[in-house]
Subunit: 354 residues, 2 copies
């Protein structure tokens, strides 16, 4: 079978890291006899927006909706386009309209990458953050009243649906069940956010009954972030709402040294729509154009994409190549204290693929 | 002038740390000629609830509303009373009904306390978190529809008022202006939370114009938590909504080694109502009754209370005594790797007061 991948580099360093991601994907595909076909798209970028007055063509769903996966760089350039136009016109649109209700991110301390946490070694930190990716705090319901007066106020609703909460919890419990530790942690704040969060807790308790083999616990988000720093070895699978998952999946990678190497998948588990794989770092306008961006977040995202497509061996070969490259400490980018440029680092990983 | 302080130990280790807090306050008052009068109250505890079926007497406002400040231990014991009864019936009631719209917490790496962050030394981490304490995400507006069906959903509104946002920002900018670095960081998430957070940003920008001497920046909460771990030296004053401030003021103390020593003030700056000073740690049912709780969070909260009352010298004498006790490393509690009990640690700090 040939997999058809839509490639969208997007903005800023997205454009610089994607060629390296593709280089490594091609190396792994060749070694493992996987057939990948790439279609490149220039939309979801500020250049496209400047030309067309919108982030994506009207027929974007026809263009990329039938692909097996979407390989994405980064989007957003606040100095050129407001975030609500660029992000809500592409990234968040994909999540919603392709029903990518799982945002999945590994938090793993890699060999050779110093952790900002004192005394932590590879193996100490190795867990997944599972984030609800379509509803919750990222709603579009709300508004403003009495503008420009002392009575002015704004409201915005957090929305949690039974369908939306249950399916993300099911995914998280299943993931926990597949892991040796079989341990799930739920992020809540039901002591302060008094309606939606107790509902989340209630659904966690109901779902837990269906997974008697999984040990589970819950922490309020405030102390949970503290425990990421104090006891990162506690975690195995952490599940949270859209906002809590967003926070935890930036904090987690920070605890493992850098956000530059962290990958993510925006996944529609049923396969009704293509899933999007993208590095956690954004477009990084401040370093764009210098060729110094770390391509490992994009490369690792490619590995997640292969695993999602069912090509586990090829995917693992990339993760192993990343580990070996990082462990060797020679060909790494500036953010990790090295002096390799983006291309040199990408080539090093591609050469390591076995 | 004699200050009248309402003392409410509350639940769990609140009862164990408060006597030490009082011991140190008395020592400082004596040295510095400050006159403190303490009135003790047993409400806002599960024992009170068991006897009376409510957390506080009907006339709680008459009982403590005229005091100069409230010195609080901890409240909550989920195994005995649901959080929404215990917390919303006391702590959150104080914040709302005494209009304590500022929650103020120092994040400071103290001498002698090892930071979980590699290579950080006292002086590297020294900032304040200013949290909006009455509105925002902790609202009471929302509900559930279609219970127990597939259509079930819950909503909860985040509410931000012009009055509420502007007054906390003003407090934060004033605090930043009073500090040597004059640097304010605002926590936002306007790229994902598309109505309330852009409003917050808008008010920050407007307020910044009134404080031309303050340098300010804003970060999305996800990368902001990452930066607490990666670049804690960047921060001077950090201001956030009720939820974001809650998260940052647990994560911050975690980065400085332990939540056991962190203090907080729930402040009504105008003095129309008494302010509440309490340690950041909660009632900690798991270690309650053993006499091993760290009293420094409560003691430091007492120092913040004296400063709030205008007794800066006496307040500072307590903070200095805490620093010296911690630096000596002899009389510290178990959570800091020592073997002093709560009382021994409290006495050590009291003896150090100068
Ligand atoms: C106990 C809880 C409701 C409270 C809060 O979230 O405000 C606590 O975490 C705090 O920070 O004081
Ligand atoms: C860019 C932003 C809207 C996005 C989010 O908050 O979801 C990003 O932080 C992420 O985690 O993918």
């Amino acid at each position: 079978k040939q997999y058809r991948i839509a490639v969208i580099p997007g903005d800023g360093i997205g454009k610089e890291v994607m060629p390296e991601g593709l280089r490594v994907l091609e190396a792994a595909a060749k070694k493992h006899g996987v057939s990948l076909h790439f279609d490149h798209f220039d939309f979801s970028s500020w250049e496209y927006y400047e030309k067309h007055g919108q982030m994506m063509p009207d027929d974007w769903k026809e263009k990329i909706g039938k692909h097996d996966a979407i390989y994405f760089g980064a989007v957003g350039w606040p100095a050129k386009i407001p975030d609500h136009v660029s992000l809500w016109g592409s990234l968040i649109k994909f999540r919603r309209e392709f029903d990518q209700y799982v945002n999945l991110r590994p938090v793993r301390l890699m060999p050779g990458v110093p952790s900002p946490l004192a005394g932590r070694k590879p193996g100490d930190i190795d867990f997944w953050v599972v984030r609800e990716n379509t509803e919750g705090e990222y709603s579009s319901v709300g508004g403003r009243m009495f503008p420009d007066t002392d009575r002015e106020f704004v409201t915005q609703q957090t929305v949690m649906t039974r369908v939306g909460v249950d399916r993300i919890l099911k995914f998280a419990f299943e993931l926990a069940q597949s892991r040796p530790k079989k341990h799930l942690t739920s992020a809540t704040k039901s002591n302060g956010i008094s309606i939606t969060m107790p509902y989340w807790d209630e659904r966690v308790e109901a779902m837990a009954k269906k997974f008697p083999g999984v040990k589970w616990d819950k922490y309020h988000i405030d102390i949970l972030t503290a425990n990421f720093v104090l006891h990162p070895d506690w975690f195995d699978v952490v599940v949270g709402s859209n906002l809590f998952g967003d926070i935890l999946s930036d904090l987690g990678p920070a605890c493992t040294g850098t956000i530059g190497i962290a990958p993510s998948g925006n996944i529609n588990p049923e396969g009704d729509f293509p899933s999007v794989f993208e590095p956690v770092h954004g477009s990084a306008p401040d370093i764009a154009g210098q060729g110094i961006a770390n391509p490992i977040g994009a490369i690792w995202s490619g590995a997640m994409m292969l695993e999602h497509l069912g090509e586990k061996v090829a995917g693992k070969s990339i993760v192993d190549a990343i580990e070996r490259t990082l462990a060797e400490r020679t060909l790494r980018t500036k953010d990790l204290g090295g002096n390799a440029d983006t291309t040199a680092c990408g080539k090093a990983v591609a050469d390591m693929v076995d």
